[in-house]
């Protein structure tokens, strides 16, 4: 058995020391790994933005504040809603990457989708986070046919989920065996559109701000609030 029976003061001292050493170790590990973790998350986000917006070479975070959408200048506050403007060659504006979230079959699905500059078509979809059933619900990002439905998908009046084969420009075929997850994705994208499309400025006025190419504020990976929580009442 470890040690001998000890008095109360010794017990308190042991636990206090253990707690102190533990706290120091954890804080050191946190501080050492934080830059790498943030860089990883920013890189993952950038990859996702480039994935959902064909032709994108750099991105900028734009905030919706005081009723208008503008390039983020500093770190975003906790209540700011944001999306990403992406630019291609010669700073041509290629579209918006919209983060959105909502309830899936098991847990919240967080995704990012691309809108063309006019906000009329969805051009790409990437699932950032999901705990959908492996083999069934996870087809929302593993089934290439389903993901491909979201390139060039009309958003007017709303995106519809069809069982079987939808021919319309705004129709998505549900995944067999994963109807709930497919429906969740469509619902999240529709809610994101309802929230963001009325806010988008005239695409001709969208130009990269003066910040150096490719910079993203370091707090981006915290994500700010995704519109998911509020999309129910876009009004």
């Amino acid at each position: 058995m470890s040690g001998a029976r000890a008095g109360g003061a010794r017990l308190v001292a042991t636990l206090a020391l253990a707690g102190l050493a533990s706290g120091l170790a954890i804080v050191s590990a946190y501080r050492l790994t934080l830059p790498r973790i943030q860089a990883n998350q920013a890189a993952a986000l950038e990859r996702a933005v480039f994935e959902v917006l064909p032709g994108a070479l750099r991105m900028e975070r734009w905030l919706f504040r005081d009723g208008r959408l503008a390039p983020a200048t500093g770190p975003a506050g906790a209540l700011d809603e944001s999306l990403f403007a992406a630019f291609g060659e010669q700073d041509r504006f290629v579209g918006w990457a919209v983060p959105a979230a909502g309830a899936g079959f098991q847990d919240t699905i967080k995704l990012l989708y691309g809108l063309d500059p006019a906000g009329a078509r969805v051009v790409g979809l990437a699932v950032l986070e999901s705990r959908e059933t492996p083999g069934l619900g996870d087809k929302i990002f593993k089934d290439a046919d389903f993901v491909a439905e979201f390139s060039g998908l009309a958003v007017e009046p709303t995106i519809e989920l069809i069982q079987g084969h939808g021919e319309g420009a705004n129709q998505v075929d549900a995944i067999t065996g994963a109807t709930i997850s497919s429906r969740a994705v469509v619902r999240i994208v529709n809610a994101g559109n309802a929230l963001w499309r009325p806010r988008l400025p005239d695409p001709a006025t969208v130009a990269p701000s003066a910040t150096p190419a490719g910079t993203v504020p370091p707090d981006v990976e915290r994500g700010g609030p995704v519109p998911g929580g509020r999309v129910g009442d876009p009004g």
Binding site: M1, S2, L15, S22, I37, R131, P134
Partner: protein, 216 residues
């Protein structure tokens, strides 16, 4: 058994691999063995994370075994283990974000993996540092082997691949239930049965040998 006189470094290492395998023989750590083994690579990552935590905490517990009063030993062990788990969590997030995303909450749950507290209490707190190291490495390797084995079986049957490499042609219809929770129970059950069979056969052989030697 580990309760008796300690063997050498090698003996303490080897026992955890098969003969006292934490999952298949001691039936410990079944929660991660079921939860994260839907692919071989996930099993490997979880196993290595647990191995790292187990080694760190066993070394610490063994080194401090005379300094920790008996009444608060379990709480102290838990503080030590939780610290290693948190550090492992941050490290994995920094060096392998994809793996971390796959394993999700289960990394933090290594804290309550009974193999780790079990080895701290049953072995590390009663043995010197080198033996505790051997025991932790052995048990950790045994745990990793078990998780990779479960993950490989489930991945081959449920996804038709191994370590992400497709094994069969496009005609293969994956047996999806194997990568869902019920498949975990089926595979773990079958492997437990297999190991129990081996243990029984070995015991019979040992008894036969003993009888044979005892006879004139």
């Amino acid at each position: 058994m580990s309760g008796g006189a300690p063997g050498g470094f090698g003996a303490e290492y080897v026992k955890g691999l098969v003969r006292e395998n934490p999952v298949f023989v001691q039936a410990l750590g079944l929660c991660p063995a079921l939860a994260v083994t839907n692919s071989a690579i996930n099993g490997l990552a979880m196993g290595v994370a647990a191995l790292a935590v187990l080694t760190g905490s066993s070394l610490m517990v063994s080194a401090l075994r005379r300094a920790i009063p008996a009444q608060v030993r379990i709480s102290t062990y838990i503080v030590i283990i939780a610290t290693f788990v948190t550090v492992a969590d941050f490290t994995l997030q920094a060096i392998a974000p994809d793996v971390h995303r796959e394993l999700g909450a289960f990394i933090a749950l290594i804290v309550v993996n009974c193999i780790i507290l079990g080895r701290a209490e049953a072995f590390a707190s009663r043995h010197p540092v080198p033996l505790a190291l051997a025991d932790a490495l052995g048990m950790g390797s045994g745990f990793t082997l078990a998780l990779v084995l479960i993950g490989a079986v489930r991945e081959v049957l449920g996804s038709g691949s191994i370590f992400g490499q497709p094994l069969f042609g496009a005609g293969f219809e994956p047996w999806v239930v194997m990568i869902l929770p019920p498949g975990g129970f089926l595979v773990v059950g079958a492997l437990l049965l297999l190991f129990a069979r081996f243990a029984e056969a070995r015991q019979r052989a040992a008894e036969r040998l003993a009888r044979g030697e005892g006879a004139p």
